[in-house]
Each structure stands twice: as C-alpha cells, then as structure tokens.
C-alpha cells in the first residue's frame, strides 16, 4: 500500500518533470510570446520569466511543506481509536509564527509583483504619444484585417489586408477599430493584445528589433471563423520597407497579356466586383479585402492559405469548404474564365 503510493508519487514526479521540460523547451516559434522580437514583447517576456521563477519557488516550497506534513500520518485503521489531539500551546505558537511569516512573505511578493508589473506597464504605454514613427489604422472584420497606412501626405495613404509590413527598429502606432464585432489584435512575438471594439478607439504600439515574419491572430472570440482570422507582420529593413510602401501606393498594374485582360473583364463583370476593390479599375467596394496588390502578399484568406495559384483557385471556387461560414460566396466560374482571373490576380504585384 505504502509502496504503491510511493510508486505513484514517483510516476507523478516524472510527469511533472516531463511537463516542466516541455514548458522550458520549444521557445522558438513565429507566434510565441516567450520568443520576443521587439522591446515590448521583450519586457513582457522578462516579466514572465521573473514571475515564473518566483512562482515556481513558491509552489515548490509550499509542496515541500505539505509533503513534510504527511510525515504525521498514522497507520491506525480505526478512526474512533485515534484520540483527538489537544495541540500544545508552545507548538501552536511556533506554527502561528510560521503562518504569519508565510503570509508576510506572500504580501511582500505581491507588492514586489505589483511594482514590477506597474513599471512594466508604464514602459509599454507611457511614451505612446511621443512615438512618431509609422501610424497604421487597423479595422477588424469578420474574419479578416483591414490595414490602412496613414500618412500626412494623402497620396501615401493606402489600404491592404492581413499582412502588415513594418520597418525594423521603428515604433509603429496602431489605431484599432472594430468593424462589426469585437476582435483582438495580437502578435505575440512583438507585443501584447488589444481589443478592436465597435464604437471605441483603442491604441497600441509595437516595434520589431530584428527582421522576420511574425504571425498574429485574433484573440477575442468573434464567431464562426475566429480560429482562422490571422495576419502576418513582416519586419524588414527600412529601405526594403520603403520599396514595398512605394509599390503599395501605386494603382494596380494594367493587364498585359490577353488572358490577364480577359481576367480583368471577368473580375469586373462577376461577383468579385461587388465586394473587392482594385485601385485603378472601376472596382471599388470595401466589403472584402483590397486586392490592388494581392499578388504581393504571402498568404490569402486571412493567413490561412499560402498565396499559390492552386489555393487561389480553390478559394475563389469554393471558399466555404475551406473556411465554412466566411463571407466570400461560392463562385460558379467556367474553367477558362477562372484561369484568366487567376492570371490577372497573380499579375497584381
């Protein structure tokens, strides 16, 4: 019986060790809050490790105290024959002192946490007003992200979707707006999350210190396709970013081949034009993502599919089997029309 319990305890110990190992390993990842790539996420991750270590020590200490208490176990099978203990006052005083000091330590730890977290919080928000880098307006829709780059020069304002390019080392301010229901903008490698709430304006800033791509995802339950409402943040050196930005502000490329021309015709005469816009063409609806430079993006369908020809074709024909419930209808295009449309869309660099 006793042996059984010790074996069980040993198994349990192994299990905890395994869990701890899992916890400490796998710190890489493109969507990982403890793999920071910017000052915000960095200070948060340091805060996390601090709290993790302190809490682990607390947990282990309490568990040791509890296990030591188990030494008091009796093998007496009968309850009634174990006399009711009358605790000795001296021992009780010792215990009282122990409890009081434990509570004091708890209070001290809590104050420590409070101060640490308050100062970390201040560093995240305090200088928001002074950040004069890039300013982006982000609107959450069911189930994609509308990204609007702001600029004092109106000709530099442009709209894209689901992929945010930012220059490395520059603070980027986000103005968060809710388009329909509440969403939450979260790129764990760069910063914490903030909600996009209809009727309210929320702000957050973030900064990437090293180039790379970081995945973000909607973190507030927003309906059927909440699971597949993701986005990419591409952090790149300033000159690359400028080139990208320069390209994005242009209107779409005019189709060159016959097939592309036919594709544009298909786009403008079919369902597509009801929701999507392509700058430089009559298509100007704001219901779905802006497709002016769709071919320059790495993914489609809110970072669900890689932007390949096959995926694009599947998505256009039958998006409902990929993301059931999303707002893009099924389309009944003939094969040649579809191929031309794909040619056209893929030309929109």
């Amino acid at each position: 019986m006793i042996q059984a319990i010790t074996t069980k305890r040993r198994i349990l110990g192994c299990l905890f060790a395994l869990c701890a190992m899992l916890c400490l390993s796998s710190c890489g990842g493109i969507q990982n809050s403890i793999n920071p790539a910017g000052p915000q996420a960095d200070s948060l991750s340091r805060l996390w490790w601090l709290m993790f270590v302190v809490c682990t020590i607390v947990f282990v200490t309490v568990m040791i105290a509890l296990l030591l208490a188990l030494r008091q176990r009796t093998r007496e099978p009968q309850f009634a024959s174990t006399p009711i203990l009358e605790p000795q006052p001296q021992q009780e005083r010792r215990r009282r002192n122990a409890v009081i000091s434990a509570v004091t330590i708890t209070i001290i730890i809590m104050f420590f946490f409070l101060i640490v977290s308050f100062s970390a919080g201040r560093s995240l928000t305090a200088d928001l007003a002074h950040k004069s880098g890039l300013s982006i307006e982000l609107t959450g829709h069911q189930w994609w992200w509308e990204v609007r780059y702001q600029d004092v020069d109106a000709s530099n304002i442009f709209t894209t979707a689901n992929e945010i390019h930012i220059p490395v080392g520059v603070p980027v301010t986000f103005t968060l707006k809710g388009g329909d229901v509440i969403h939450s903008f979260w790129v764990p490698n760069l910063a914490g999350k903030k909600d996009l709430i209809p009727g309210k304006i929320n702000t957050i800033w973030l900064q990437a210190d090293k180039p790379g791509v970081y995945r973000g995802q909607c973190a507030e339950y927003c309906g059927l396709q909440h699971a597949q409402m993701a986005l990419w943040v591409v952090a790149e050196p300033q000159d690359q970013f400028n080139a990208w930005r320069q390209n994005q502000t242009q209107t779409s490329l005019t189709p060159t081949t016959d097939s592309q021309k036919h594709g544009q015709q298909v786009f403008l005469t079919s369902t597509c034009v009801m929701c999507h816009s392509i700058n430089g063409t009559p298509a100007g609806s704001n219901i779905g993502p802006n497709l002016t430079h769709v071919a320059s993006r790495n993914t489609i369908a809110a970072a669900t599919l890689a932007n390949t020809r096959d995926h694009l074709a599947q998505w256009i024909k039958d998006s409902q089997s990929i993301k059931p419930g999303n707002k893009m209808p099924q389309n009944n295009l003939g094969d040649s029309d579809l191929q031309s449309l794909l040619d056209y869309l893929q030309s929109l660099k």
Partner: protein, 665 residues
C-alpha cells in the same frame, strides 16, 4: 428546558423503561409529522431539504457529465490540426454549452445543493428556513437546464461563448433564437441561485441550535453564508446583463448599440461584475469542504479558526473588486488598471492564509490518508498552481500576452477543477456515508483520485505552454505549422484519463449503494453535528435538537449533554434562535409539502421561455404566477398534516434557560 432537566423531572415520576417507551412514542410521532409524501406526486411536492438537495446534486452531476462529454468532443476535435471532426458551427455551440453548463448548471447549483443538504444538519435544525421556496428554486433550475439542452439538441445551442459578449451575441451577429435561450437560461439559474442563497442565509442566521453562537459556526457553514451573500450581490449584475441583452435582441432596445448611444463595453462590466465573484461563489463552498475534512482526518482542531473565517469574508469582499482584470485589453486608463491589478493580487493573500492554516493543521495532526483527504491534498497541488497563474494574469502587461489564450483556459481549469471539483469529490467521499448509510470503497477511491489527478494535469498543464506559444482560446482548429499539435494531442489523451476517473467514481457510487460497507452514524469519528444523527438522517433530522457546547460539538460534548425539549411532535415545529448568540427566541411552524412551488416554477417557465417568442408571454406568465402565488401564500402551511391543525397557536416565544444566556466576555 434541557434534556437533563427533563430527565430530572421525569425521573421523579417514571423509571427508565417508561422513559425509553415515551421516547419511542415521540419518535414515531415525529416520523408521522415529518413524513415525506411518496410516489409520483411526492416528487413534485416534497419539500424536505435532504430530498431537494439530493435531487439538486444528482441533476447537477448529470449536467457535469454532459459538460464533460462536450469537453471530450472538443478535445477530439483539437487532437490534431485541421481536423474535420466538428464543424465550426458545432464547435462553437459545444464550447458555449460546455462553459454555460459547467458554470451555471453544475458548479453553482452543486455548491448550493451541498449547502442545502448539510447546513441544517450542521446547525442542528429540522429543515431549512423556507422549504417551499427551496423546492421552487430546484424546479426553476431544472427547467433552465432542460431549456438549454433542448435547444442544444435541436441545433439551437447558444454559440457566442459562455459570457456572450455583445455585439457578437447581439441581434445583428447572432440571428435566430440561440442566444435568447442562453439569456433566459441565465434568468432561471439566477432565480434558483438567489433562492438558494436566501434559504441558506435564513437558516444559518435564525435556525441554529442553541449554543451554536456565531463564533462556533462550523467553517463549512461560514463558507456557505459568505457565498450566499456574494450571490445576492453578484446575481443582479448578470440579471441586468442578460435582461439587457434579451431586450436588445427581442424588443429593439439599444443598451449595447454604440450607434444609438449604447455601449458594448457596458455589457462586459455588468457581466464581469457578476462573473468574477461567480468564481468565488464556486470556490468558497469548496474551501468549506476542506476544513471539515482536514479536521476529521488530522484528528485535531483547526489551526486559526478566526483567520480562516476572516479570510473567507475578505475573499467575499475583495472578490467584487477585481472584475476588470478580465478586460485589460479594452481601452481602460492605466491608473484604473493598476487598481484592479492590486485588488487581484490582494485576493491571493486571504487564499494564502487559508492554505497556510490548513497546512499548519496538518502539521500538528495525526493524518489518516483516506480518499477525502487525498482529494484535499490534490486540491493543494492543483489550486496553488492555478492561484499562482492567477497572480500572473492579474499583472496588466503580462495579461495582455496571455489573456484569451489557452493559458487562461489552463488557469481557469486549475482554479475551478482544482479549487472546486477536487474538494467536491473529497466531500462526496466524506459525506456519502451520511447520505446513504454506506461507505464508498477506499480502493476504488484511490483509483478515482489518481486517474483524475494524473488525467487532469495531463490535459491542462500543457495548455499553459500552448497559451504562451500563441494559441488563442475558442478556436475550432489550428494550422499544422503553428506547432501546437503535440501538446494538444497530450491534452486530448489526458482528457480521456480524466473521464475514466469520473467513470470510476460513478461505478463506485452504484456499487457502494448496494454493497458498500455499512457506515454507522459517525464513520470518521468526526466533530460536526451532522454526524450525531443516524445515516441517512431521519426526515426530522434530530430526535432532540442538540445544545452545542463548543466549536467541535461532538468532540466537546459532555456525556450528559443537554438537548432542547418542548418542541411539538405533532406539527412541524422548530426553534428560532438569535443571530449572534443563538439564544432560543421562538417556536415556529415550518411549512410542509406543497404543490404550489412547482406550479409557480411552471408559470416562471411559461413567462421566460415563451417570452423568447412573444412579449405577450410576460402578461400571461404574470397572471399565471399571480394565481399560483396566491394559492401558495394562502394555502395550508401544514399540507397533508391534519393533526397539526388541532393546535391553533403559532410562533410561541420561548424564554432561554439560564445556562444559555450569553455570558460576559
């Protein structure tokens, strides 16, 4: 008059044999007076607190199993990336119904039920304060549960999450009647929780046995009182939230429509002003289970009774000051956030005090490691992890990273399963002998504990890591390149081990009811008053209401302990005592079985269920409820108890005997 005095008087006239015969006659009379109606009608009219509580417990456990099945389905869906086992529509309904079931149909009613069963036995009362109201509460709860599950089975399960944030749950984005069913089900559980709270507060304050002054109140009863007060203050907030939501959806009001001056954040404030205390409403009764178990199995008085009571009360107060930590990602000024961070961290202090006191008790005791204590030890291991992750979530900046991720899923299950369900199972093992007269098997109990403990940690520990790795909660699937597959698979395997643990428990219960060891009155040689009566207790709970001589009534009872004499045996009479000192004040008739609570519950059901479809329901329902309530109030309080009518007098004042007068401190 004390038992001793009674004996003294009787000794002058009759001998022992005659006394025994008189007692037996009295017992038979009590048996007849407090008889429970049987048969099918009995099911609708029986107001005995034990049978109502038993029904509550069984119903809540059935919902627990339903919720568990839903959890298993979700774990199957998430076991591998891009799984097509459930559609997003099904998954969203399932996780919403899972959360709603566990919070509203399992946890709160189960805790209320334990209180309704045990509180009168622990305070030495014959029944609860308002037995008919109590019965009404059960039926309302049952109807609410049936409503939710009927909807769910007919593809009308709510799908906006268990806290149903607007605008997603509002009229524009949740068409159909799904969320309406959720909102009305909330109304039903609100009513039943409020009713339960009133019943418990009434019983504890006015119906304690003489001598059980407020400083001798068992810790379980303290926990129930604190919980009941929390319910009374928290439930109105969710009543506002769900009624505003329902009226936005059904009659075009604009409480939450920002375009017409409403506010979507208002809903979150209202909901979490209830929602966070709700966590403590579930958790504090569980703390109440732990104290008696620790006392009984360490064979000593509790360490730091006063500290424990004050901790419970302060938890109840602070619990109302930290709702905003669910909303740190919304635009809230930093100063405001810091206040709620501080409050959220502060609440870990009373929790810490309690844990330290229990550990100190264990240190100074002689431990019998039986299944109930095993579950309490499991509570320590799991709950402390949950509490510490709670501290992390209280920190605003860190919360912004882990809020609404699987880290939160892990945290809330560590707190609610570790903090509530483990003590609850401990309590099942501890009080099962009292309820049925038979012991649950120890061997099977150990299996039960270890399966649940290992399974639980296997499901939920990896979720911390998943959350940090960026997995948001409430996603019906995920892409393989996110790297979440392995941990999710481990969690899914763990879910089935946990389920096996619960299954073992169910088997144990069915086995023990037929073949378990016969328990006797007090199998654990414990201290509480509930162990002084037979197992299972008679309908009238105690032949003679005991007089309490200390904080640990059975351990401190002298051999010639006094009892209360002079209560009528031919009508349902009980003693009303004062709030603080528990001095006898009145003799009072408790109402007996009645068909009207069920009728009022039906009228309530008509009002709120039909109200989903037409506003006329409120008119019809009001008339029906009016009729039923009139009959309830003017009906015979001693339904089915003809002999009671002969004595017309009611509510006689009593003068407390001298030894019960409060002494100078």
């Amino acid at each position: 008059m004390s038992y001793k005095e009674a004996q003294k008087i009787q000794k002058t006239t009759i001998d022992d044999q005659e006394l025994a015969a008189a007692m037996e006659r009295e017992r038979k009379e009590l048996e007849r007076t407090w008889a429970r109606p049987s048969g099918v009608t009995g099911w609708f009219i029986d107001t005995d607190h034990k049978s109502v509580a038993k029904r509550y417990i069984v119903t809540a456990f059935v919902f627990f199993i339903f919720g568990g099945i839903e959890a298993a389905l979700m774990r199957l869906q998430l076991a591998r990336p891009n799984n097509h086992f459930l559609s997003p529509d099904q998954y969203n309904q399932i996780f919403t119904v899972h959360g709603t079931t566990m919070m509203f149909l399992f946890a709160v009613p189960m805790m209320t039920a334990m209180g309704i069963y045990l509180v009168p036995l622990m305070i030495g009362a014959r029944d609860v304060a308002f037995p008919r109201l109590n019965l009404y509460g059960y039926f309302v709860y049952l109807i609410g549960g049936i409503l939710l599950y009927t909807g769910f089975l007919l593809n009308t399960g709510p799908d906006a999450g268990w806290f149903a944030y607007v605008p997603l749950a509002g009229p524009s984005y949740s068409p159909g009647k799904r969320v309406d069913i959720w909102a009305q089900m909330i109304t039903f559980t609100e009513i039943s929780a409020l009713v339960g709270a009133v019943v418990i507060i009434g019983s504890v304050f006015k119906m304690r046995a003489p001598g059980m002054s407020i400083n001798r109140l068992p810790l379980f009863v303290w926990a129930q009182v604190v919980t009941s007060f929390m319910i009374i203050f928290a439930m109105p907030a969710v009543m506002l939230a769900s009624s505003f939501l329902a009226s936005d959806r059904l009659i075009d009001t604009h409480f939450f429509n920002p375009a017409e001056g409403g506010d979507a954040i208002l809903y979150q404030h209202l909901f979490w002003f209830f929602g966070h205390p709700e966590v403590y409403i579930i958790f504090i009764p569980a703390l109440g289970f732990i104290s008696p178990i620790v006392i009984a199995f360490s064979r000593r008085k509790i360490f730091g009774y006063l500290a424990l009571v004050l901790s419970l009360i302060s938890t109840g107060f602070i619990g109302f000051g930290l709702w905003v930590h669910h909303m740190f990602a919304t635009p809230i000024p930093q100063m405001g956030q810091s206040f709620f961070t501080a409050a959220s961290m502060m609440i870990s202090i009373p929790s810490g005090v309690q844990i330290f006191c229990w550990i100190a008790t264990l240190w100074g005791g002689k431990l019998h490691i039986k299944t109930p204590l095993l579950f309490v030890l499991g509570f320590f291991a799991i709950f402390i992890i949950g509490g510490l992750t709670g501290v992390m979530l209280a920190s605003v900046p860190l919360d912004l990273q882990i809020h609404d991720t699987f880290f939160v899923v892990a945290h809330l299950h560590y707190v609610l399963i570790g903090g509530s369900v483990f003590p609850l199972f401990g309590a099942f093992y501890y009080w099962f002998p009292k309820w049925t007269g038979r012991m649950l098997s120890e061997r099977v109990g150990h299996w039960n504990f270890w399966l649940m403990f290992v399974g639980f940690n296997l499901v939920f520990f990896p979720m911390h890591q998943l959350g940090l790795n960026g997995m948001p909660r409430r996603v019906y699937t995920y892409l393989p390149e996110t790297g979440w597959a392995t941990l999710n698979l481990i969690a899914s395997i763990g879910a089935f081990i946990l389920a096996a643990g619960v299954l073992v428990f169910i088997i144990n219960v069915f086995w023990a009811r037929r073949a378990g060891e016969v328990a006797g009155d007090n199998p654990w040689a414990a201290d509480g008053l509930e162990w002084s009566t037979t197992s299972p207790p008679p309908n009238y709970n105690f032949h003679n209401i005991p007089v309490v001589q200390g904080r640990y009534p059975l351990w401190q009872a002298t051999p010639d302990a006094p009892v209360v004499r002079g209560l009528s045996t031919t009508k349902r009479e009980t003693l009303v005592t004062s709030v603080l000192d528990s001095q006898p004040e009145l003799k009072f008739d408790i109402p007996g079985p009645s068909p009207w609570p069920f009728c009022v519950a039906l009228a309530t059901a008509v009002t709120f269920i039909a109200g989903i479809f037409t506003p006329w329901a409120f008119l019809v329902g009001a008339i029906l409820a009016g009729i039923a309530l009139t009959c309830w109030f003017f009906g015979d309080p001693n339904y089915e108890n003809r002999t009671a009518r002969e004595t017309g007098e009611r509510s006689q004042p009593v003068s407390p005997p001298r030894e019960l007068q409060p002494k100078e401190v």
